[in-house]
Amino acid sequence: MSPVIELDARRLLCPMPVIRLQDCVEKQDRGVKVRITCTDPGTMNDIPTWCRINGHRVLATEQLEHEYIFLVQKDPDGT
């Protein structure tokens, strides 16, 4: 099983966390998982939306006091 790629997008404001995720995911093979940690509450909307429109899947979301963590899988359905 391939390891989960970790991305740190703390202190970045939208759309930079989305750009970080997008640029990372583009380089990966289908099915690869990326975990991104953010502090901008706007990511709670933007990252799931970006995943939906681009065919990726949010496998898990965790909300801590000042952090929002998303586990994303690249294009699991081969869209």
Binding site: C14, M16, V18, D40, N45, T49
Partner: protein
């Protein structure tokens, strides 16, 4: 053969409608959105605590989802600096280089088009909608100087412009495009209703901080006091946050206005000297400039204390932190309102 168009998606109504018009003609559309660092999109809402109850959505992503298209968000912060610093066609009312910006973005879209094997570019431009960049005589300038030429189609006003390649080749039916012009939003709102779009973002304009007078004054102040017009992303992000007070050419204070801004500014503690109030609830201030001499430090602390709950107290304890010398406690009398020179406040 299905033709493919790349649409510049700002997140506003015009780009939504332009892309929809082309989608309806059986063209495959994908969106592209550029991040310049000056985008209004979400930033201030994300920072200020009292704005946190608002819906925090990225409008470009939202538009893409309404259209059912992919959206590519591209970081052009570094490349965009030359557009802001040296606009060939000059600035608008503030430091907004709108025409150069449009030319640059269409040029970048054309590069993307070539790399991804798309056929043409669409934008939501409307003749006469914006005084600087959307006058009819400037429409060919954008097409020419961007290098896009007749690959650039503006579906909302195409019928008032010379036919482009997608029209001449029959990829799109020119008769189904529009001839909108002027600053009225009524035709767009009617078309939105026709398409069933009830919820859409701000009217045209207002998506870039460079069109904002107060922001432009702060940027010009930054340039004037540095002696050059260079900037980094952190510089232009910080211009969106807090009160900016420059008591002298040597230093400027960026003072948080509320908890959300203080929290955001605290992320810069390692890069700046900082002042925060200890004895009374109050702001965090970043000190931008050279290390402060004792007189400047006292003034900076007194100004910061003025924006705390202790503004009327005889003495306020503040903590001054210097990334090299550590932190220390200082007691100051908050600056009185009459002592705060209005010329220091950058607005």
């Amino acid at each position: 053969m299905t033709r493919k168009a790349v649409a510049l998606i700002s997140g506003g109504l015009d780009s939504l409608l332009a892309a929809k018009l082309i989608q309806q003609q059986g063209i495959e559309v994908e969106g592209i959105n550029f991040f310049t660092g000056f985008c209004v999109e979400g930033h201030t809402h994300a920072i200020r605590k009292h704005d946190r109850d608002r819906v925090k959505r990225n409008n470009a992503l939202w538009v893409a989802e309404q259209l059912g298209i992919k959206l590519h968000i591209i970081d052009i912060v570094d490349e965009y600096k030359d557009v802001v610093i040296n606009p060939k066609h000059g600035y608008g009312a503030n430091l907004n280089p709108c025409l150069d910006c449009k030319i640059f973005m269409v040029h970048k879209a054309q590069e993307w088009l070539k790399q991804h094997d798309f056929d043409f570019i669409i934008t939501g431009e409307v003749i006469g909608q914006r005084p600087k960049s959307q006058r009819k005589k400037l429409m060919p300038v954008v097409a020419d100087e961007s290098g896009a030429d007749d690959l650039l189609l503006r579906p909302l006003c195409a019928k008032s412009l010379p036919a482009t390649l997608p029209e001449n080749e029959g990829w799109v039916d020119r008769e189904k495009l529009k001839d909108f012009s002027g600053r009225s939003r009524k035709p767009q709102m009617a078309l939105a209703a026709e398409f069933g779009f009830e919820d859409y973002a701000q009217p045209a304009g207002g998506c870039c901080f460079l069109t904002d007078q107060s922001y432009s004054v702060k940027l010009q102040d930054l340039w004037d006091n540095r002696g050059n017009r260079e900037y980094e992303l952190d510089d232009i992000m910080l211009l969106k946050v807090g009160r900016h007070i420059r008591p002298s050419k040597a230093f400027k204070l960026i003072i948080g206005r509320e908890e959300g801004e203080n929290q955001y500014l605290s992320g810069y503690k390692r890069q700046f000297q900082t002042i925060s109030t200890v004895s009374h609830a109050g702001p965090l201030a970043l000190v931008e400039g050279e290390p402060l001499d004792p007189q400047q430090l006292e003034l900076a602390c007194a100004i910061t204390a003025r924006y705390s709950k202790g503004r009327d107290a005889d003495s306020v304890e503040v903590r001054f932190s210097d990334r090299e010398q550590g932190s220390r406690s200082i007691h100051v009398k908050p600056l009185a309102a009459a002592q705060l020179n209005p010329d220091w406040v950058i607005v």
